[in-house]
Amino acid sequence: MKKWESSSAPSQFFAEGSEFLSRLKQLAKSLSLYGPDQNSRLKRFRADQVRQIVFNPSRMLDPLKAIFFPARSGLGTPFADDHARGREIPARIIIGAKACDLAALELLDRIFLEGEFPDEEYRGQRQKTLIISSDCEEPSEFCFCAALGGSPYPVSGFDLNLTPAPGGWLLEAGTEKGRELLAESGFRAATEEERAHREKLRAEKSGKLQERLLAEGFKFEAAQLQKVIESATQSPLWRRLSEKCVECAACSFICPTCHCFLLSDRGHAPDFLRSRAWDSCSYRDFARLGSGANPRPRRAQRLRNRFEKKFCFFPSELGRPGCVGCGRCIEACAGGLDLRRTLKELSVG
């Protein structure tokens, strides 16, 4: 696009609620549509079910990774010369993603796509999926994105983003795919007033969240956390907290950036099968060697390792913490561990 065009072409559009739903319905006829249901779970909806989609006020329970990197997936034959795999990847739309989901997905992209051995299956899934995100209207009690420098509205990583506007939605395209979709939809350009309304709304929501978090003492500096966790290898805190951990690994499975997995093989000649399933560093044998040696035999060590991965490994290798502040692990923890409180304790020292 030439420079003078970009200033005149509208980047934000307006759609009435019903207008948007009927467009979604139309799209769902040719694409698989996923979004949050009334239980905050990520579910598939048929075209005639779009009215059942819940426009979630904050992130849903399921992490988006479940779509691109399923909990368990068959990889087909373990041999390169059998071409039994080559599955067709269906085109999809996900609606209901939030800023924290998108931040997490950006990290997963780097894990699976950067380097010498990119995961082409994952790439295909990503390319075939259109992501419609939205601003958070009501952060959940677990949300703390803003304490880690995030904000409750998406700024990148979406194809299309929705912000509530009087009578409907303000839509913004983040990618070429999103722009095309908007161009085909026939929505009108947003007015100056609607655009100003969005900025005001965003400042309000994020200010309110920050205030609430600050009141609880939740404000973290990534660089400081990295330093503290790196040096606090012997802190009694790990042991005290790990006494509550029941090693269920719920925190790993529900975390949008946890990407650890295990390959396994089964079957008999000539039909051998390989599969891949989520794994967790909380499990005792995660890092155990054949010799029996275990780098992290104690639960306290594994708990610290989890923090080290999120707040030391991710920043030093990928430039930002591996925690996006979605609070899912807090909601899921059977032992009542609260990541925010741990970070606070670590920050205070």
């Binding site: 041999f79 390169a80 794994d279």
Partner: protein, 273 residues
Amino acid sequence: MAELYQALRAELVSAVPETNGIKTLALRPERPFTFAPGQFAQLLVPGKGEAPFSPAVAPERPELLEITVMKRGRLTSLLHRLEPGAKLGLRGPYGRGFPLEQFAGKELILIAGGVGLAGIRSLLFEVLSQSEKYPRVVLLVGAKTPGELILREWLLAQAGRNRLELHMTVETSDDSWTGKKGLVTDLLEGIRIEPERSSAAMCGPEPMMKAAALELVKKGVLAGRIFLSLERNMSCGVGQCGHCRLGPVHVCKDGPVLTWSRLEKISEFRGPR
């Protein structure tokens, strides 16, 4: 490139016992499988699973890939039961091996503990076949008992041809052993080391490698010229599954060969100070 996680077929040609619990498997891959010394491969028993091993190609049998396997748990026990003709799979090579360019012209101190000799065997083949590039090659080998000294005949033959300064030691033995007794690190005391001209490479139990690295540093060898081949639990081999992570490093991708200067900065590796 083959699809991620997919293996090349390979047939087991022979399985020769080295010592009690250690066998060398010779494989014939369907297509050439090339690798640099110190890189590893995931060896697949179809339908059963995989484990990482350090392959080597013996100069006498360039068409075969040799893998020396110590029997430990589930998969290595399966490997020990295989008969010639068994169908296996190989994927890789993965990781970063030994820095041959950096080693050229240096006096090399190679240290192996137990089955760790398997991890530097391909480096040994390389440097012995290119003796003009490596003015001096010292190999220190340690094992628990004489029966666990693998590749002994071959090593003795190399030493006999004056290409290799070989020193062996065992921790415990009976009267049949007339050589040295003690730890492999003790052998470091008995050799001449010119620190500014030396590089070191080692593979073996981690406590042994740590002790040896510290000793070398004490003798003046630069931490950046001491290379350790690490063992970690591995699944993917390509830096994605998280199993092998050690601090900021994925051992499968950034290693398995890592310098002491890098490792000593990693708190989990170093242990409590």
